[in-house]
Amino acid sequence: MFNAKQEIKDTRIHLCLDCGKCTVVCPVARYNPEFNPRLIVQRNIEQKNRNFQDEAIWSCLNCYMCLERCNYRVEFPEFIRILRTEALSKGTQIQCTHGGSLQALMHLMAGENLRQERLCWLPPGIKLSEQYDAVFFIGCAPYFDIMFGDLEVNTLEGVKGAMRLLNRAQIPFNLLVNERCCGRDLLLQGDKEGFMALAQANMDEFNRLGVKKIITACPECYYSLKVDYPKMLGSTVAEVVYWTEVIAPLLGSGKLYLGRLKEKAIYHDPCTLGRGLRIFDSPRQILCAVDGLELVEMEQSREKALCCGASSWVYCGAANRQIQDERLAQAEATGAGVLVTSCPKCQIHLKCAQRNRNGKMPKIDIQDLAGLAARSLETRR
């Protein structure tokens, strides 16, 4: 069982001054007055006062906006995660989005005798190394493309693109045939048991194959493997890097060149990658390296970037829609033709929002960073 008391202490929640800055910057609080981070802390800081029927704890987006603004860096998202874990252990039911299909999928992926056939989409041109020293962690993109096919998401394009770029840069990597979901969404929604099963299965696979370096395609996998796995499993994982951090330095030093694309683009910072892991520059460097591409910034970008409006496949309501609508409005206000993001989930959420904006036609194309960068390579042989 988990030691909630120690975990809560580690979030520094007792340093909370009640100043309310978190609530001022919180995107959910702006649209949903019921959700007030400051009051949630006040209500739940003492264990005896906790009410596990409190629906507010499921609305947090884990966007780290509060953490960014907090003078004492009180880890409010982590506090929410602990409350959710406690609520689940007391039998509270969560409102899963998409009919709970993603939760079921993650639990199925934790199965012991699982032998996935998840690489059927792999294009023939991708060169894989023989060894497993360096591994490219694909994430759940193959599943997303099937599950969200009706939204016309193309998250695999990003994965294929990142692999093409790595191939072009002559960085060797291999793929795991039976890679499982990193489990971050289960952890965030409080299902620690489910997360541990997935994390352990992935860890066993890394250890069995002697993986020394993992390059990740999805920001959530990156956070999970880099931060959550060592913390939760208590053992060190191989070196974990995000693909932009590998490619961007090569572009800067002239060892790799991208091609030409005439686009006006904006970059949407995924919360986990930006505020969570402070990767703001390398994705922008990649975009700037595309010849002919004009990069403009949205009203809220980098540390202040607005979240895509939904997280961990729980609780998607009116407030979430309004956040997404605001983000799309910010994007459209720049006059750019393409919104580029490097997170498959941001792509899914924003495309879903675009589709459901009361009949308004989508004005901006949403694309994956790696997919776009790799597409530019085609103009350069």
Binding site: G99, G100, S101, M109, E112, L114, Q116, I146, M147, G149
Partner: protein
């Protein structure tokens, strides 16, 4: 989570689908007792979340039993359930469980014989698939 072929979940619509199961019972036709029937108003109610949940709980196969395409009581077309069916089959394929573990059957009203035939065939096929997996694992 142990997966046994015997556990087959049948999501059936309240109309022609259920009438087949009732007809089978009235004509005293036998089919394995491990077939679990879940009644829903219309097959369009069954989305990928429910189907995957059945597999998560250990079902060996899931059958969607509904009215024939043109005789649905609610809709003129079956676009929704076909879409969910295709989507879930894709996911099952990636998971390595096999796309055949999900079956869509559309039967005319009161056709108990066909229902029993389809469900027993389905179980036999699942058993064969499991044997193949065991062989592969040895």
């Amino acid at each position: 989570m142990s997966r046994t072929v015997a556990d087959i979940v049948v999501f059936t619509c309240n109309w022609d689908g259920l009438s087949c199961i009732e007809a089978a019972a009235q004509s005293r036709l036998n089919y394995p007792p491990s077939v679990k029937v879940v009644r829903v108003s219309c097959l369009s109610r069954v989305h990928s979340g429910l189907i995957l949940k059945a597999f998560e709980l250990g079902a060996g196969g899931v059958m969607l039993l509904g009215c024939e395409s043109d005789s649905c009581y609610y809709e003129k077309e079956d676009r929704f359930n076909v879409k969910e069916y295709e989507k879930t089959r894709g996911v099952l394929g990636l998971l390595g469980l096999g796309t055949d573990r999900l079956r869509l059957a559309r039967l005319p009203r009161g056709d108990g014989d066909s229902f029993v035939k389809q469900v027993t065939n389905f179980i036999a096929e699942m058993e064969q698939a499991d044997n193949r997996i065991e062989m592969r694992n040895v």
